[in-house]
Symmetry: C2
């Protein structure tokens, strides 16, 4: 049997330590092709490049793996991979990450890592985004390795439910052993922003976005609960955003004419 073909992308850029770990684990499982941004794209959400051109060049970032670096967003990378680089042979699995920083709860919406996975899911490919709850460039990924391999092998063996992509988050490395893996719902939390206002050397005002994560959701079935209790969290994410309960309310309560 031929080895599965695995496409790897990310949002921290092709030289980030996190994607290196992911490539090394995927090489144990299958044939790997990398298409990743040529520079960091954190916080890009599901951005795509529509009013501008895209570059795509061969990359020497990995010794023994076919790799391409792209000037666009993570979603652009997956589109270019599917429709150009891998036009003749579709990947059996798409993985993105490992992100330097959490993408749990509502952060999934801002996440370039997850937008690569969700773009793949829209295109009908099984896809997983991996993130570590540690923003440092020198973050320790060593405890994630066995779980990344297990989850990727399970995805290849069992498939991923249609219309979804998996959002996998790992607790930051600590002295405590990982407690296991939990399938979770997205916690109903949010960021409470603050803007750090400063003056530039020319006396013009500018802002840094900062903020605190607020989690009023006490459910023990959430990704935040799992991560706080040293579990690996998996949230299956759908890209159909329809709020069906709200359709009923609008039809019953609003007056929208005949």
């Amino acid at each position: 049997m031929s080895k599965p073909l695995i496409l790897v992308s990310n949002d921290d850029g092709i030289t980030a330590p996190g994607i290196r770990m992911l490539v090394n684990v995927m090489k144990k499982i299958g044939e790997v092709v990398v298409v990743a941004p040529d520079s960091p794209q954190s916080g890009m959400g599901h951005a795509i490049t529509v009013g501008n051109t895209l570059r795509l060049d061969k990359s020497l970032a990995f010794d023994d793996v076919e790799a391409w670096e792209c000037s666009g967003t993570p979603a652009d990378c997956v589109k270019l991979a599917k429709h150009h680089v891998l036009k003749e042979r579709q990947p059996d699995l798409v993985v993105s990450g490992i992100n330097h920083g959490s993408n749990s709860s509502v952060s999934v919406l801002y996440s370039g890592t997850m937008s690569a996975a969700i773009e793949a899911a829209i295109e009908g490919l099984p896809a997983i985004g991996f993130s570590l709850c540690d923003f440092g460039h020198g973050a320790d990924f060593s405890h994630t390795e066995e779980f990344v391999e297990l989850i990727a092998r399970q995805a290849l063996a069992n498939g991923i439910p249609e219309g979804t992509a998996l959002n996998v988050n790992f607790p930051k490395k600590s002295n405590k052993k990982i407690a296991g893996i939990k399938v979770c719902r997205q916690a109903q939390a949010r960021w409470e922003e603050e803007f750090d206002e400063r003056l530039d050397p020319n006396g013009r005002r500018y802002f840094w976005l900062t903020g605190n994560f607020i989690n009023p959701d006490k459910g023990e079935d959430t990704d935040e609960w799992a991560l706080a209790h040293n579990y690996v969290s998996i949230v299956p994410c759908q890209f159909d955003m329809t709020a069906h309960f709200a359709m009923v309310r609008l039809n019953n309560e609003w007056e929208l004419g005949k």
Copy 2:
């Protein structure tokens, strides 16, 4: 009774004709404050500015309306509006658009227009994104006016279901009268990409993203059906992306250890 406070944003930039129409309609309903990008941000999805600074300056784009132009994304604009410009007084309604181009079906994921509305919803504010199925800079918005006003007034009167933002799309202007307003689900359609490969003047390769919209979803309850039949479509969108049906499948079918 004091007039409602309405925040207006968009993704085509503060000088786009679409936001001018939206501001003019909102002035009939309430007090208007504009915080919008200083340049076009189409296709930005739910991007936020995390690794860079933000500018925010008073804008003269509107004669008699308080307006601010921001260097960031639509989601940045809403965050800056809520936590800085309108810190002392929260808006009663947030509207975004009117976008030059459709944001129906899966395009909601790539839409900067809708990311402004969804960001507002995450922050607990009632929010609506408006889009016209006409990409032209000179698009005719005249047929949208009465419906924009009706939908905004209904939102102020009845509220918008919690945890959702409304995605409103208008058919392109034609000789046919608008058939009415339909509350819809997001059609299960997608873009089939093609990349237009070219050489720059220096002989280096680049790409333009192009593509065809593929809609295999024949349901008559979808936004695509409504727009094709000359209705205004409203899809309530949630930002909880959990696919609950998939949680069950993963728990039953996958082997994730004890």
